[in-house]
Amino acid sequence: MAAPLSARVKTWFLDSAHYGTIALFALFAAFPFLWMVITTFKETNDLLDTENNPFLYNMPPTMENLRVLFQDTLFPQWVWNTAWVGVAVVVVTLLLAVPAGYALARLSGRWAQHLAIAIFLTYLVPPTILFIPFARVIGNLGLQDSLWSLVLVYPSFAVPFCTWLLMGFFKAIPRDLEEAAMIDGLSRFGAFLRVVVPVSTAGILTVVIFAFTLVMQEFIYALTFVTAASKLTLSVGVPTFLVRGDVYFWGSLMGACAISSIPIAIVYNLFVNRFVAGFTVGAIK
């Protein structure tokens, strides 16, 4: 009698430890975003009254902060700029990285292996080392305060990573597939375009999402190249132009952060398994 009971207590204990651990981690990860959402809908007077319980709505929720954000600030313009740069960079990245990833995965001689490692190693030359010379180069090209400067430079970190990811995806496709197509009369390049690319849609989509999130994340180049408020992207516009001196419009600021973060995270979540698979295959094999 005692043994099953103690076993049950032990399972119960292990289960609650398991759920407790997960709950703690989830809280740590998500709390800042929860806090952003709560803050967004609060009256400024409610936020700034230290007597109030900050977890509760002591005054009725308001849309005022979001109205200010969309009507009185450049936030909509930054959303548009980010989307525009993101799409342009994704297109450039795909045009460069898809063929390169395939070449590294299939048409391999010794040089391909060395090239793959060389491309991986460009990660050791991060934007932090390059932004100072780029500041001068972009100036000389007359691209300061232009979104084109970002379209030109952003693929420099997206292409190596995406080539690496795509190499992993292409390696996972059986060779027989192209070989059958080539026996049927297609050239190697034809087989790549008509057979390999269509079956890799999921992998390519993963790279699209990934390149787009890299663009959304980027901070240092945009901060260096662009000073005109109307040409900024979200990641720089929100932290620099929604904060004026010491005056923080916390409601609008938190609204901007929540709106810019959560939708992309939902999309990314759908692709994360493929992303990890490509990442680890590429890195280990």
């Binding site: 800042p32 952003m36 977890f55 001689g109 100072i132 001068r136 932290p239 973060s261 990314y268 979540n269």
Partner: protein
């Protein structure tokens, strides 16, 4: 009359097609043509500016100047004489090492907790991934509000629960030690998701038989952890750490948003100091020199980790 002419035009039409056809069929040339554009782009936009950075660091270039001349190691000497550089160098090491150690331990725990199936797992995974996917500058703004000197939710909760006495009111970003702890917290928060998914991928690739066999042989939890699990996920762990170190040690966003290097320049890292010197201060040469200090560190780390990863993969 017509047949020879026909043959002639036909041959001429076929010749170029054959030429390109052969080019396309030649694997070697096709490979070069497919990878060429990416390589040229990377050489122009990573290799060339890197050489420029090397050149700037031994010149006297500024934002406004037209003429630049070679000044040898003058910039490096100037930097080393500046005590705030040493603070930034030390901070870069502290932020990177401390946050990576914490991230690795937490990622291992979290990944093991996520190995089991439970209801609502997809939602938990979504929550845990949020900090990695959200733009880090915006996540850091969220933390700026959490760490606010007057309205900090941490302080309010601490006071309400009686953890903080009536005289305790930490100014998270205004005291050097607390500011550093805050920056490390945000780095951990930000890097944990990526490390967790990578470790999780490594854990799920271990065949169940191995664990079962070990359990039958009487190996306990800790023994299995240190003698089976950790050695088997080591290569993947190394890759995760390499990326973590590269991302953390070259990042300036968290410092820029949270403290701008303050209080009293105590939280600058090399990246943020390079920015404030080179771009805000206009001294491109000295900024380039500061940023370049990161490079040998990264190379050493990469060589070390890749060697370990390769070696542990063979055994």
């Amino acid at each position: 009359m017509t047949p020879p002419q026909d043959a002639g035009t036909a041959a001429m039409a076929i010749a170029p097609r054959r030429f390109f056809g052969r080019l396309i069929d030649s694997e070697e040339w096709l490979g070069r043509a497919m990878i060429g554009p990416a390589v040229i782009y990377i050489v122009l936009l990573v290799g060339f500016p890197f050489l420029l950075a090397l050149f700037y660091s031994v010149s006297n270039i500024t934002v406004g100047s037209a003429a630049t001349k070679y000044v040898g190691f003058h910039n490096f000497k100037m930097i080393m004489e500046n005590p705030s550089f040493w603070v930034a160098l030390k901070n870069t090491f502290i932020f990177t090492i401390v946050s990576q150690v914490i991230v690795l331990v937490l990622a291992k725990i979290l990944a093991m907790a996520l190995m089991k199936d439970f209801r609502g797992k997809w939602f938990v995974r979504f929550l845990i991934l949020l900090p990695w996917v959200a733009p880090v500058s915006l996540g850091a703004i969220g933390w700026l509000w959490i760490f606010d000197s007057i309205y900090s939710i941490i302080n309010w909760t601490g006071r309400a629960l009686g953890i903080f006495g009536p005289d305790v009111w930490p100014i998270w970003l205004g005291q050097p030690v607390l500011a550093m702890a805050s920056i490390i917290t945000v780095h951990v928060w930000r890097m944990l998701p990526l490390a967790t998914v990578i470790v999780l991928a490594g854990l799920s690739s271990i065949p169940h038989d191995i664990h079962d066999a070990a359990q039958v042989d009487g190996a306990g939890f800790w023994r299995r952890l240190f003698q089976i699990t950790i050695p088997l996920v080591l290569p993947i762990l190394m890759v995760a750490m390499l990326f973590g170190i590269v991302f953390t040690s070259t990042d300036m966003v968290v410092v820029y948003v949270l403290t701008r290097g303050g209080p009293y320049d105590s939280t600058h890292v090399l990246a943020s100091q390079a920015f404030f010197t080179g771009i805000e201060g206009g001294d491109l040469a000295e900024g380039a020199a500061i940023a370049l200090f990161l490079f040998p560190i990264l190379v050493a780390v990469a060589i070390g980790f890749l060697t370990v990863a390769r070696r542990s993969e063979v055994t």
